[in-house]
Assembly symmetry: C2
Homo-oligomer: 338 residues x 2
DNA sequence: GTGAAAGCGCTAACAG
DNA sequence: CTGTTAGCGCTTTCAC
């Protein structure tokens, strides 16, 4: 591995001069600069970021931890985060916790020990508290995405989950549906709780009875227990006419199971969900959704993070951005009349 | 920031002893070990990976560079890579080049200067040569994914692009289609070239004439020039009855443009593509595709990379894995009779 | 303009 | 079993 000393030797200068050329600091004669640059090229020199970070105590690297890399909500969010990071000349690294606390914990070790300058994180849920607490203890600036964690005060970008769920239920009502079930993510996730609340409130406002048997708690990620979901579907008596899924991944799981038992959508079973499907919705516009502004989550979150880093020592109050969801009506709901 | 010296001082031992406790090396009395561990916890010590990497000259971090984080092919591939990396206890970092040589180059700087142990990379195309060449020059083990780059000899996982394209055209033929157009990614990408070849060969085998006007070169990524695609669609006279897209992203773009002008799919225009849509295909199974084994790309690629790192100094011949694509017939193609 | 010395946090090699 | 020394590649400080 070529070091600045190799360059220095070959160029007949000191390592310090090479360092100055690399970083464009101090005063260097044009002649020396040219000579050093030439040697650097000849030797294919690449600065050792590791060594540099060690002495500088900063990396200019930011980390984005998402909970499901195959979910278009998060990948679109990632694009937003990338764009914002690039604009401020930060490098961005990604991690994928897969909605797993354990993997999140692994990434936290990586994050902490690699001394990145800041973190954008969609936490796995309330039990992520110790992870975030440790970021705070170690003085690593971070911004939360999509989910609040009780006890953690920080900058955050949120979707209006309650309103999103409510608008979906209202729409189903307007289409004549009265028996509406909900499948949701873990109640340890703030957005799941709010979505359930939105559902309950909408039922109440429309004078419908809330029945626990029509609500099932699974996982927002890829590790839902399918057998349990099937069992739930079997247990509802009578079957609901419409099902609302707490996110896009759950909607797909349910559809798959429904199809497996020969049901057609929407003819036999209407379905809606929160979160859109990114580009894939345009393929064959199918699912009626409360679409969240995924890109904005990433972009605004990253902006907040960078500001926070730059104003590190200034006491700026925590910011909270809540983005509304948009109801997009497609064809997964059958209008019915009683 | 807490260092091993802080621990050492408080525990009344030397830094070296602390280091040994952390790494579980050498012989330490249980008593000392317990004492050191206790102090470590009290002080919330986190090892400085940066410093450690500097002396160890290895990071135990692998890097996965994909070209489109919103493309389910790559996200599914990422899951495979993650799983394989985890199995061998490597950490994995992600980068997204967005099919852009410039961004790829940025990531290469990150990769090189952060001294990761190995790289799994889907190159932007043939012009990625210098990037890969520089990995080679710097002795960083890497495995290519999905695309070959002329002049680069290395381990690689490939899809059988030619056969995939051919099977799609054959299927269209079997459904009575004779005027088949193709929209493709850049010809500087090996897989795009092979897909075009597959298309051409299938036409030839079926005694159909290859007409350049029916072929359009756009981009596999999100930066296709939509105006040009529209112009191409306008220019075909007569319109093809079916269009084959070189990948999933292009298929969506074309569908969007087609819908914009009021055409229905498949009634007015049949369409097929290479690459499936991950979980989103199950939502409303629509597109007929030649599905590639995305997960396997990542998993097998990562395995090869890790083996290569472990056998760093042994001369093992380069491996090349070619994964077949699977034709999945759904409903984006209208059977026609002439 | 340029260089020498010291140190960022850690571990390998050796000594005891 | 534990400690001392040196050095990974770089930059800051201070000298000249």
């Amino acid at each position: 591995m070529v070091t600045i000393y190799d360059i220095a030797e070959k160029a007949n200068v000191s390592a310090m001069t090479v360092s100055r050329v690399i970083n464009n600091t101090g005063k260097i004669s044009d002649k020396t600069r040219a000579k050093v640059k030439k040697v650097m090229e000849e030797l294919h020199y690449v600065p050792n970021h590791t060594a540099r970070s060690l002495v500088l105590q900063q990396t200019r690297v930011l980390f984005l931890l998402i909970t499901d890399i195959t979910n278009p909500f998060y990948t679109t969010l990632s694009r937003g985060a990338e764009d914002a990071a690039k604009k401020s000349d930060y490098r961005l690294l990604f991690g994928n916790s897969d909605e797993s606390l354990e993997k999140e914990s692994d990434y936290l070790t990586t994050i902490l020990s690699s001394r990145v300058d800041g973190v954008l994180i969609a936490p796995a849920g309330d039990p992520s508290f110790p992870h975030l607490d440790s970021l705070r203890k170690h003085n690593v600036p971070f911004v939360l995405l999509d989910r609040e964690v009780p006890g953690i005060e920080c900058d955050i970008v949120l979707g209006d989950s309650k309103e999103g769920a409510r608008s979906l239920v209202d729409y189903l009502m307007s289409q004549g549906h009265r028996r509406i079930a909900m499948i949701n993510g873990s109640s340890s996730i703030s957005s799941a709780r709010l979505r359930l609340q939105g559902y309950q409130e909408a039922l109440k406002l429309n004078d419908l009875i809330y029945d626990e048997a029509y609500v099932h708690e699974a996982s927002f990620g890829p590790q839902s227990d399918l057998a349990q979901i099937e069992q739930w579907l079997d247990s509802m008596e009578p079957m609901p006419t419409a099902i609302m899924a707490g996110n896009n991944v759950l909607a797909i799981e349910v559809i798959r199971l429904l199809r497996k038992r020969g049901l057609r959508i929407p003819e036999d079973q209407s379905i809606v969900c929160i979160d859109d499907f990114g580009p894939y919705s345009e393929m064959d516009p199918f699912m009626t959704v409360a679409a969240q502004q995924a890109y904005q989550f990433g972009y605004l979150g990253m902006q907040m993070l960078i500001e926070r880093i730059q104003e590190r020592n200034i006491a700026v109050p925590w910011k909270k951005i809540v983005l509304p969801a948009e109801l997009i009506i497609r064809r997964s709901v059958l209008p019915i009349s009683e």
